[in-house]
Symmetry: D2
Subunit: 343 residues, 4 copies
């Protein structure tokens, strides 16, 4: 592939953690030419001054959002909720887009507005979006022009539940006890990420009302015949990166851990980034990587599935690039074999 | 109360974290005279050399386990599982004892042996033990000679569930997603508490099989009419201290958060150490204290209760002293208003 | 001592970490009646709602700063730099005051204004202030009406250097490499205390220019014949609490670790809160306590002294109460035997 | 480069943290074919079972140490001190070797034996070793067959001091206050890395006597005319990865920060992996990368240099591969543009 053949990419919103991780991946992606990165408040500044991990690795500067997009094949939108809906309708029709925000994940306007507490001004564009959970929507992603990249909690939960739903194994309610690292709150300092407190802290938040719930239920309904009640609870962990979801489900028959393993192995046969582990996964083993590690246990009809991802990679920027790869005919792992570390 | 009136106390097993916390409390308890503290491997060493937080605060040395107990009113057994059963049968009948291990919590020998993977050699002594969850067994504790102090996970779970069971509110299975800090693994270094890994780690362990499950079910049965299935899962948190349990239950009718608050407030009216909070509790606010903080949310018939304790205090040494206070006619808060810190 | 005899205390600035720690100590101080606590933005709120560690332990509410002080014996000023100088000149002459800010530590107005980057509007009041490093100024503190409580870095550094300076042992420059936990930045969230970054962070800041340098030099000059050059460097540690200072000095003769120990033991003979340790101190062993742990090593004429404190206790609120105790004729340890924890 | 042209590599000691990082790098190095990895206690196990970050990324199993080396171009020795000296003398003469231990860093047998507290059985082989601090020994490394890879503290310290020594700028003693993360203690659990304690801990250890001191002095003497006294002090940080060295030196003339910057920029003109930063470096910005970030400040003749590396990468495995690259005629950055993360 020559320089001319590379995918010409722009990033809207490069100063947050989503943008930071997109940069870490795309600057070194063998098939990508990164053309611009916006960051309104940092426009003009070298990227390596804001993301000091990248100091010495790129000469690019942040720019303000460009008026026109020329010669761009694909844009990533890593902006606060509500901004992508301003940009998407004005994109040239030959530009593909991957939106990391929640703007285009939900099909029902009223549900969006209830959970995101703002009006939706571009609902007509939503229909063209494919929900970018790569492992469950691979074929649709390949032919998509617009991707709504899943939320981090949704990614961990759906990858854990999909094989059970697809195989019609569930009966009764499902309890998801999900925990996230502090980077899930974004790059801006806030009371709940104040280090003196957060480092010794564990607490729940938004009981029953997290905005990822409707996208989870919408996608479960797409994966199979989802009729269960979802009890979804989010908690804050005192680590920087990682999501761990403990998923408690009841099968409609007795089932063993071995049977579960076979079902999951079948379902994820083509999915490089889903790893089945023995025992429990650990966020330590997926941090900075695009892997989702899954483990299980069973007793009678009771099932527990443990799902661990890096919230910023498989839960955001990594999955976004995985989708881009497929949209441009590449192997989905291209530029994404980010290796975690031990320790 | 004169020096002569003080409770004369001995501690068996003073070098672990349970012993460490007993020392922190009992050395400054206004009605206690601490007579001896054993630690076989450290016998002869100043306490302040092992627990360097206590350096300058006590002149006591550790001793080897004494042959005879004379002039002792009460002993705390803070030993590895399996050792209290050697000591208890040989205690003089006028010595009260509080055992922090799992040796005497379970009424069925077979269940003990299954979960603790060792024979029980003193099951005849078990019948005399009162299960020392102070808030649910206050009157029995007052007249007890022998106390089986609850496990840390059991304490957090039972305090969260007791009002629901006592009021016959439950239907269907109960899911408890419990998380503990690293001090729960004890004072001895081990692979799962190796700092380079643990600090970025979150994982589940012992799915369905934690040894605290039978004591939880046994006590729930004592509190009310417990017929639900318990799904109990333990996880490891990268903090030093604290347990947080997220308890998912289904009521046999629709219920609101306000109703729950009233039910819990009634149940814990006399319980200084149970605090009802709005929103979620946080282990940050109970660390180093004897409090159990409880919060709730409800939706339709779905209930979630959040329970936070310090595993070493309300989950071990603090509750043990709370029981001692009652056994000797003192106010249960005596010497136990350990104030947490912010931050 | 009857309720009438208790010291009637007010706190200005109760919502920050200094105020939080004053509350933790003074609410349980046997000789103190806490009359009011101000916090302008939180006025009217229960203290236990802001400092949730205190929930259930006090019924007090925060108030706005009172117009007049009546029946008050002592006030603590735990306000941002620049505010105490507004309050102190208006205090009734029979009210004692302990200022935790930097407003009255420096004798030279120009030096204050250079380091704190604001004009000093009450320099006339400074002369009446005693610098409240209890261990070096005990007698002056006893008869003081006004105390300038030392900075946290200054406390750790001065306690480490005082015996060397008092005994005229130094020659050549002194290097102090000081490190602080994140609570030193206060209770307000900021970029440098953003958890996702801070938890993996260690860096230096304010090289050569920290505002505690002039108070250190001023006090060293008071302790002895200080003619050395001070190289003082501050760093940020990824813990919540604690200061550790590594002090590198050159003696004017060869000296051994044993000689150092004797010199320090003599100097701190009356000082309960200074503990000499073998090997290195560790912030883990002083956290939440009022202790300063000191350790040493020597090689030829080269000396290193290690000094560890809790920045919020011996470095702020604890030392402030220690000073109050002396100002009111109490034993300096009254209400201050705050026991650290292991772990 | 075809598969036949790749460097055929073996690793002795693949289960520790040095080996773990060598695997993370070498498995994805474009010019390396990894032929074997030994780990006696784990022989036969898949690598991805021990280093679970590598699960799914390699099919290799650990093996026991091979009797003979055939078709191998280069071996890395990542073994405990004292084992490389058994292996090196038996290497075929056409096999290059890079030793990450301290066995062959010191030229004087007596100094080795004093600091490592064991006899040296292969001192005759030492003369052939080049000290692999790439930036100061680049030409020698290119033609070396045997490399003694520097210690982690030595790397951080030497890169900070080298330009000052090479330019004859120093007078008087140099104080190095060095701090390391817990992974510096290795992969085996021990008391000093027990999470409940370490997470709130900061302390000094081995004052004046760390075994990296002689290799630092030996190399400084090689870089320039080193006549100063070195005061070197090591401390433990509660992070997993990273070394931060604060280096206090006195120039033989007044010097400014700008002059220093010019001197360092000149000295490191060819050194991709040394980055000069404004203000202080931060271990957060070098973690998991092969960079050494340097910052400075100056006042009169007083200089402070701040040096930050990842102890396992630039301080061990990364630098080892950097040396291998040069030994085999590759660009030194090949396979080493490991990108750090934000956060």
């Amino acid at each position: 592939m020559t320089q001319q053949d590379k995918i010409r990419v722009g990033i809207f919103g490069g100063s947050g953690y989503g943008g930071s991780e997109l940069l870490r991946i795309l600057l070194f992606h063998p098939q990508v030419e990164l053309v611009f990165v916006t960051a309104n408040e940092q426009a003009g500044k070298p990227i390596g001054e804001v993301h000091r991990n990248l100091h010495g690795l790129t000469q690019l500067n942040f720019i303000a959002a460009p008026e026109k997009l020329e010669g761009i094949d694909c844009v990533f939108l890593a902006l606060p909720h509500g901004q992508a809906m301003e940009i998407v309708p004005r994109l040239p029709p030959d530009v593909k887009a991957i939106d990391l925000s929640g703007d285009f994940r939900l099909r029902e306007q009223s549900i969006f507005e209830k959970h995101y507490k703002q009006p939706h001004t571009a609902m007509h564009a939503q229909a063209e979006f494919v929900y970018g959970l790569t492992e469950t929507n691979r074929e649709a992603v390949k032919s998509a022009r617009l991707i709504a990249n899943p939320g981090c909690f949704a990614t961990a939960t759906l990858l854990g539940l999909a094989p059970l739903v697809a195989n019609n194994l569930l009966s009764g309610r499902v309890v998801v006890d999900a925990k996230t690292g502090s980077s899930g709150s974004g790059a801006k300092a806030a009371a709940n990420t104040h280090h003196p407190q957060r480092m010794n802290s564990f607490y729940a938040y938004k009981p029953f009302t997290h905005q990822h719930v409707p996208e989870i239920e919408q996608e479960l309904d797409h994966i199979g015949d989802w009729t269960s009640e979802l009890i979804f609870m989010t908690h804050s962990l005192p680590v920087s990166r990682g999501i761990f979801a403990s998923i408690y489900a009841e099968a409609n028959r007795e089932i063993t851990e071995d049977e579960l393993r076979t079902i999951y192995a079948d379902y994820y046969r083509e999915s490089f980034f889903v790893r089945l582990v023995s025992g429990s996964p650990d966020i330590n083993w997926v941090k900075t990587s695009n892997f989702c590690d899954l483990g299980f246990a069973a007793r009678g009809r009771q099932i527990v599935v443990f799902s661990a991802i890096d919230n910023l990679v498989k839960g955001a920027a990594g999955q976004a690039v995985q989708n881009m790869n497929l949209m441009f005919g590449l192997d989905e792992t291209t530029g994404l074999k980010l290796v975690g570390t031990n320790p």
